[in-house]
Subunit: 191 residues, 2 copies
DNA sequence: TTCACATCTGAGCGCTGTACAGATGCCATT
DNA sequence: AATGGCATCTGTACAGCGCTCAGATGTGAA
């Protein structure tokens, strides 16, 4: 799995073949099959690690931010994670799409925080959402998650470079878009 | 390209190999290379058709909806397109990510409407956005696009099935999420 | 000492994207 | 009518891929 992570970071997701991972690990092409049923299972495992990393990044972002800015901080941390590990982020969502499910069972990294999705929901409550209005709460969480994911995928596109320039950098751009989503209070610090 | 579309719809994006397309078209595996530089160029062409189709769907949605509901209608049409052509939608964004750019040059289908992205911006203006505040306008457009794209990718996930059930169907769910995004006025009709 | 088990190898199958030399058929020019 | 250029297609080939399987190796428990 370390080999897989190295290949992914160095060569991108399209180069992440079982054989390449085996080469990187210095073993024969058949060796990985004694640890993973097939390629998809290896990718699942890599993706799982990715969700753990994302959760840790979000925990950290929350920890170093004012309570009033927690939601924005989570959004920013989310988008920055996707920017810093684009290949991994893609593997994570490719696996999710194949299963038609977000991996809401990732709680290994820091169980008391549940998982990344739960963190968003809990932060909604912190910000005044009514926890007894479950449907409403979950809709708000989904909406925020959609916004963050959408922005994560758009933020790297060249068309929006001029917006970053006009607004004074990437961070200002992300803040501004989140503000326009109407879900997030605004202005925190670096990511 | 017809063969490519057929393979894509029938077998999904992972089965969309040049050789499969050639087989479907009844031609040798080398034949496509006289029309496309490589596989990526074929996929680009397929993706381009996809953006045209999306634009047409959005034009139609706008045409059959009250002016006050145009923005929601676009969002719903967008998400429904992604639901109805999931393989094509994936090819479209795979190509976009490779280029790190949305194809904002797709204006063939209906030039007077520009393209899908422009339609969203124009509809923002219809709804009262100030066209002279260009940065603000574009941020609002980006935010809406991000929300729609995010929802398009999430809407099929199993975790949210119970929300659809509780709210009385997929359409109600989409409406509700859009409402929570704060960008969209609400309630239109079918898609 | 023996046996079970986890791990790994090497060869091999059918698939893929891509390259290239040559065939075919059509269209414009002479 | 004959010629030549050009677009299109074929057949073959190569390296790389996911995956399978029979057998080798080593390690810990009985």
């Amino acid at each position: 799995m370390e080999a897989a992570r190295r290949v992914l970071e160095a060569e991108g997701p399209s180069a992440l073949s079982l054989r390449a991972v085996a080469r990187e690990a210095g073993v024969s092409p058949a060796a990985p099959y004694h640890h993973f049923k097939d390629k998809a299972e290896l990718l699942d495992a890599v993706a799982h690690e990715g969700w753990e990393m994302l959760q840790l990044a979000m925990i950290e972002a929350k920890a170093r931010t004012d309570r009033s800015q927690h939601l924005t901080a989570l959004g920013i941390a989310y988008v920055c994670f996707a920017r810093d590990y684009p290949a991994l982020y893609r593997v994570m969502y490719d696996a999710a799409r194949d299963k038609e499910a977000l991996p809401m069972d990732v709680e290994d990294a820091n169980p008391e925080n549940g998982n990344a999705y739960c963190m968003v929901r809990d932060t909604m409550i912190e910000h005044g959402a009514d926890p007894s209005a479950e449907t409403h709460l979950e809709l708000a969480t989904v909406a925020a998650w959609c916004g963050a994911h959408g922005l994560a995928e758009m933020a790297g596109f060249k068309q929006f470079q001029h917006l970053k320039d006009e607004l004074g950098g990437e961070r200002a751009f992300l803040d501004a878009v989140f503000r326009h989503m109407g879900l997030f209070p605004t202005q925190a610090h670096d990511c």
